[in-house]
């Protein structure tokens, strides 16, 4: 019904025959893009074990970490990170200096998972899941200290 209405509307406006087809395609894309959940992240159930006393560090520069959703997570320069636990995928770090979320069609509060100085992904504490980073960038760390 929508397509017919669109085609008639365009024809009424005096456009060529190609125009209604383009218009319909545009409408279908709009429906697909707006009305449905199109962006997902791959979540893997994981086991979190609380830990503390590990080395903490400060991020040396802004950093963007993708998870394949099209909405990378921005980590800000100057944020201070503390070890809060471990998952099989790496050490879990938390910061109080910024909000960290993994974003797709839905948004998940997240903590950073690091292996050595490389980002492994994110731990989602509500979902008890791990989301892998698209690549494994080395973190530009300003300093590390062991309390």
């Amino acid at each position: 019904v929508l397509c017919t209405a669109a085609a008639r509307l365009v024809q009424f406006a005096g456009c060529s025959r190609v125009a209604p087809v383009s218009f319909i395609v545009a409408m279908v894309l709009a429906i697909a893009g707006c009305a449905f959940d199109i962006s997902h992240v791959q979540r893997v159930p994981t086991t979190f074990v609380a830990a503390s006393g590990g080395p903490d560090w400060t991020l040396d520069q802004d950093h963007s970490i993708g998870v394949g959703s099209g909405f990378p997570t921005q980590l800000r320069h100057g944020t201070h990170w503390q070890l809060v636990g471990r998952v099989p995928e790496g050490d879990v770090y938390h910061t109080s200096d910024q909000i960290v979320t993994v974003e797709a069609s839905n948004i998940f509060e997240a903590m950073l998972v690091v292996q050595g100085v490389q980002v492994a992904g994110f731990y989602l504490p509500v979902e008890h899941s791990f989301v892998a980073a698209s690549d494994r960038p080395a973190l530009p760390i300003e300093r590390r200290s062991t309390p």
């Binding site: 709009a30 909000i99 948004i107 509060e109």
Partner: protein
């Protein structure tokens, strides 16, 4: 006859005025603002945290979906309105539903205050309202002139 024609011609204008008034009435948000209430608000009870959920924009004012906390309706996405909820420390999801359901998951620690902004985006038939966790600084800056619409 002329008067009848004039009245008929005025009808669309009256209709427009009526619709405008109806829309404005729908947009109007009463209740104290966050700035007015801030000093009077007691901290969350022991063992609980507080979540402020607010919407600043009047864009798409007619779209005011229910706001759900862990699947239970706790309010509506009223333009320039806010609600606050004191809840035990734990894990929560906040969701809104229009054409689609948009969900935010967050943790709440005892004594913690969190700010969730309801944004509006384009949809096909109706706009989408989606909750976003923002920093305390951003939340306090945003919410100042929003009105309490329930708690």
């Amino acid at each position: 006859m002329n008067k009848t024609v004039q009245r008929a011609a005025a009808l669309p204008r009256l209709l427009l005025v009526w619709m405008t008034l109806a829309v404005l009435a729908g947009c109007a948000t009463s209740g104290a603002t966050y700035t007015e209430l801030q000093a009077k608000l007691a901290p969350p009870p022991a063992g609980e945290g507080r979540v402020f959920i607010y919407r600043t924009t009047v864009l798409g004012a007619a779209v005011q979906p229910s706001v759900m906390l862990n699947g239970t309706v706790v309010g509506h996405a009223v333009p320039r309105g806010f609600i606050y909820l004191d809840r035990p420390a734990g894990n929560y999801t906040i969701s809104t539903e229009t054409e689609v359901t948009r969900t935010l998951s967050l943790t709440l620690v005892s004594g913690q205050v969190r700010y969730v902004r309801l944004n509006i985006g384009m949809g096909f038939f109706v706009g989408h309202v989606w909750p976003e966790l923002v920093s305390d600084q951003e939340g306090i800056s945003d919410i100042g002139e929003c009105h309490l619409v329930g708690s």
